[in-house]
Amino acid sequence: MPDIDEEIRDTSKGMTSIVKTVVRFALGIIVIFGAYIVLYGHLTPGGGFAGGVILACGYIVLTLAFGRQIALRKMNNKAASILDTSGVLAFLAIGLLGYTGGYFFLNFLGRGKMFDLVSAGTIPLCNIAIGLKVTASLFAIFLALSIFGRFISSLVDEDE
């Protein structure tokens, strides 16, 4: 496997160097913003789903600008599938842990001080689990569609 820096500089893959340079700057901001939306879901508008979509968009921008190989190095389809599944299981586990207080989905953690980052009991944890699930599954759907599109276009080429 070639060095990742060499692959990034490889001009034959992905888009032009203008796009690549902009994406390099923007990607960090996109990911930070996505993480912010997930983590502050219980305090500000947004939450696990919205933040997860933004994070997944970060991966999609990476794929579009640098080509699929670079993006797959960051998260391949197997990792996406495992993250996706563990997001669901984490969410369900939070629900089941509510049984420690007698009810399914009971908010069993302390509520904390209002408007603090660590407050509202299990809700931030639920947001993180949902964010994980949405990021991984949207990226997996994008990968599946891109692979399927390539498969279809190869079929069309054969016909021609």
């Binding site: 197997k78 599938s81 495992i82 599944t85 563990s86 669901v88 299981l89 369900l92 629900g95 089941l96 509510g98 049984y99 207080g101 007698g102 009810y103 399914f104 989905f105 009971l106 908010n107």
Partner: protein, 500 residues
């Protein structure tokens, strides 16, 4: 048992995803995970029959703010149908699905579908119901196209589009209800609508719900997806779709919403009775000319669901004698349970024939009773049940529905029910002649009986078909009366808001 009520959705949901994780280590575990999960659910569902009515507050939030889960006669009845048939379909799948690839993914989708249906049945919250309905529907779209052949993908796409339209109509209806009452909690909605009285906006909501849930229940102007979707799916999925899904998502939701939220209303009653009669007639006439066995069974599903709908319609009619309305409703619910048993048996039998002969065309088969005696005998029992031959279960429920309609002063609907029962009999006599009896074609001389894991669910379902007919008085008391009384008692449902 009461504290574990949410586990009806939590177990299949969790197991579905654990299954995906485990499949990355070993593919063989998937069989056992699905078997154990559905087995536990089936046992829990049977236990639920003996529980009193109760409500469960998710997260400890009091109603109407939190989500309520309601356990009463109707939801217990549906839980038993869903989970027992699901368990038998999983047993059948362990051998049948070896002809397909990606078995763990199949089990995951199957368990998600069970989670969705259980959720629809146990919930007491409109939006929660919509979410679970979508879980079950989306899993079923994927399962219909599971074979990835051309026709299967086409059927799946058609089902996806039509199902999406239906879901949109349902969501729109829920939004309307919310804007009028400001609540999504179903007992609370019932109280608010009682205060509000009938108005035009509510009439529109009813129309949206009849369209949306009617499509899920495949009643006749909304049935177009079903004859494509059922034959395309793998046999255990056809059995689940026809035996359980159209009931849990369609008929159950209609019954719950119309009886408990809107209450008996002459307009809803006449619409449901008309749609039921139309489904019965159209379904059975479309079934006659089909050569594909599963396609024919799919059309009969439409027709038989008509019996259930027409029974519910009579139950909703406030202008007939309450005892007669109750009889009609009872017949409809009884036919719902019976249809679940014999139609899933018929679809599993068709899968068993297909597994050995690789064809679904009934004109290519024949004389299979000599080579596949167990499958053929059970198929024959199911055919007799669906066509209403005593002492099998289909006879009693059809008889009750016909008597109820004659007593209620709707002789035309009664006559249609008799005619459709007769047409069904003709259709299934032909099926038996073409597939089970008659001459055995040369190419099937060496065909063997299906493996034990496939015949075992067939035998259990055949025994159920016979038992539900012969042991009618016991079944009557245990399950159906409770479900019927629940549906007729709107006041009790509204009081769940405060009493639970």
């Amino acid at each position: 048992m009461q504290g574990f009520y949410p586990l009806f959705t939590a177990i299949p949901l969790g197991m579905a995803f654990i299954n995906l994780l485990m499949a990355k280590i070993s593919k063989k575990v998937a069989d056992y995970i699905a078997f154990i999960a559905t087995g536990v659910l089936a046992v829990m569902a049977v236990r639920m029959l003996f529980e009193p009515v109760f409500v469960y507050k998710v997260g400890g939030w009091p109603p109407p703010w939190g989500i309520l889960l309601v356990s009463d006669g109707l939801s217990s009845l549906l839980l038993v149908v869903i989970n027992v048939i699901g368990f038998l379909a999983i047993i059948f799948s362990t051998k049948y699905m070896t002809t397909y690839t990606a078995k763990p993914k199949y089990y995951t989708l199957f368990l998600l579908m069970i989670a969705g249906m259980n959720g629809v049945v146990i919930t007491g919250d409109m939006f929660n119901m919509y979410v679970f309905l979508e879980i079950a529907s989306i899993a079923s779209y994927a399962l219909v196209g599971f074979g990835c052949e051309k026709e299967e993908l086409e059927a799946s796409f058609k089902y996806l589009i039509l199902g999406g339209v239906a879901s949109t109509a349902i969501l729109f209806g829920i939004a309307f209800l919310y804007s009028m009452t400001g609540t999504l909690n179903m007992p609370d909605l019932a109280q608010q609508i009682e205060i509000l009285g009938m108005n035009k906006a509510l009439g529109f909501v009813i129309a949206l719900f009849i369209m949306g849930f009617g499509l899920k229940a495949s009643s006749v102007p909304f049935h177009a997806w079903l004859p494509d979707a059922h034959p395309s799916a793998p046999a255990p999925i056809s059995a689940m779709l026809s035996g359980v899904l159209i009931k849990a998502l369609g008929v159950y939701s209609i019954a719950r919403i119309m009886f408990h939220i809107f209450g008996p209303e002459p307009m809803i009653s006449s619409i449901l009775m008309f749609l039921g009669a139309l489904s019965m007639v159209v379904g059975v006439f479309m079934a006659v000319g089909q050569s594909d066995v599963k396609r024919m069974l799919a059309y009969h599903s439409i027709s038989q669901m008509g019996y259930v709908t027409i029974g519910l319609g009579l139950g909703l009619n406030p202008n007939v004698d309450p005892a007669v309305a109750a009889l009609g409703l009872f017949g409809g619910l009884y036919h719902l349970v019976n249809h679940a048993s014999f139609k899933s048996l018929l679809f599993l039998c068709s899968g068993s024939f297909e597994y050995r002969t690789n064809t679904r065309n009934k004109y290519e088969m024949g004389g299979l009773i000599r080579r596949m005696p167990i499958t053929s005998t059970t198929c024959s029992i199911a055919s007799l049940s669906i066509s209403g031959v005593p002492p099998f279960n289909g006879f009693w429920s059809k008889l009750i529905i016909i008597i109820a309609f004659l007593k209620a002063g709707y002789p035309l609907y009664g006559a249609i029910a008799v005619l459709v029962a007769f047409m069904t009999l003709i259709s299934f006599v032909r099926l038996q002649k073409d597939v089970i009896f008659g001459t055995l074609p040369e190419k099937f001389r060496e065909v063997k009986e299906a493996p034990l894991l496939m015949t075992l669910p067939l035998i259990i379902l055949a025994v159920l078909c016979l038992a539900l007919g012969v042991a009618y008085p016991f079944v009557d008391q245990a399950m159906l009366q409770a479900a019927k009384d629940t549906l007729l008692d709107k006041m009790a449902y509204m009081s769940l808001l405060t009493g639970g």
